[in-house]
Amino acid sequence: MLEFKNVTFKYDEDETDMLENLSFDVNEGEFISIIGRSGCGKSTVFRLINGLLTPQKGEILFDGQNIKSMRNYSAYMPQKDLLFPWRTIEKNISLAMEIQKKSKAEIKKQAEEMLKEVGLWEYKDKYPKDLSGGMRQRASFARTLLSGSSLFLLDEPFSALDSLTKISLQEWLLTEWEKHKKTVLFITHDVEEAIFLSEKIYVVSDFPITHFEEFKIPLPYPRKREDMKRSDIVELKEMLIKNLRQEAVL
């Protein structure tokens, strides 16, 4: 579904490349987490995928087509919820549909269904300031879902939440993912979160980024918290953390 072919990218301000000849692909319906130390270029990869940045070399393909000529193939959910404070929750989640010039009736119908689904129906006429952090992330996720894209780019969506809210939203996200059959790329700093959520983990281990180290998570869905205590999972987790630590020292 998504393919990076020998992509090289450098910010104008920088001396060195951020990405060098990076190739990887993502298949339809996969849930992949990307982990790596802070500042290694994870968000940059997302910005390349959604077209906010263009690579100097190589190409990025979506369903076999260069993304240069495409729009609205990926939906980006940033770390901050970025809900528009002057819009009610209903209007916020309708944003992408408004831009796609859908009819008023269609927008209303889809937004209302979505509000019920994410449990924010009672809050539809409230403003973001009236919602808790967890609710805001759910609203932000609903907005992303309603963009109609099939590739989701979630950039540390839960990192600002308290740990209890985080856990319940992780479980919620998995049910949503199984229901909507979207492809998800998920950036996180949290190794445990990455293991619990994803089928595969891509670890950024070099600079400039030339490849991702790939780890498969041997757990079936639907997943349970108890699975995290399995010895092979604990081992995997320790290994990943050690891996990331070593880089941090370098």
Partner: protein, 247 residues
Amino acid sequence: MRKNIPAFALITTILVLWQIIAILLDAPYILPSPTQIAAKLWELRETLFLVQLPATMGVTFMGLGISVAFGLGLAVAMDCSEKLANALYPVIVASQTIPTTAIAPLFVLWFGYSIWSKVLVTVLMTFFPITIAVFDGLKSTSREMEELLITYGASKKDIFFKLKVPQSLPHFFSAIKMAVPLSIIGAAIAEWLGAQSGLGYFSKRMMTQLDGAGVFAPIVLLSAVAMLIVAIINIIEKKLLGWRKEI
């Protein structure tokens, strides 16, 4: 309501003190007492409210209207074109230091006693603050929100109307609230300098007649009107900007 009590108490104290001093001084041509001013307001109500106030308000609103229209236009143009902004922004900021009141007589010299000399003074006093405030508002839009809209496929027009306009609305309101008193001051000063009607003109005429209360009455009226207009704008602002975090 309760938190306004100290302010009321302070105003009452000042008025009472003023009244006492004015009575002791007994020179109403220099310092008329509040009750004398109130009596004068009542006495002159017809000309003040029906002739002079409408004349001054005409100038104020005409000047304000022109400033808002052109200020918004210029701010939007500067937001669209970086070149234009780079050329104009420093000039506009620097122009803020020119004492408008000092050059106002020039306009009377050029445009005579017509309404345009007065409108021009109010425009000069309000145009640049409005332009700067709105431009700053448009520039303050969050880059991340803009990028989010771009990933949804938003056009420049979408970004302008769905992001820039709502985000700069609070700036626009503070600009207007600042501009209302300024434009009233501008109108009154211009009338003082040369006019055949208006509260500024009327106040000056009373001055030549050594009528202290008559000088004060139009000024009190102007202040009251300015406060009233700002209060109305506050109400509209609260309605439109209810989404803002309460502090």
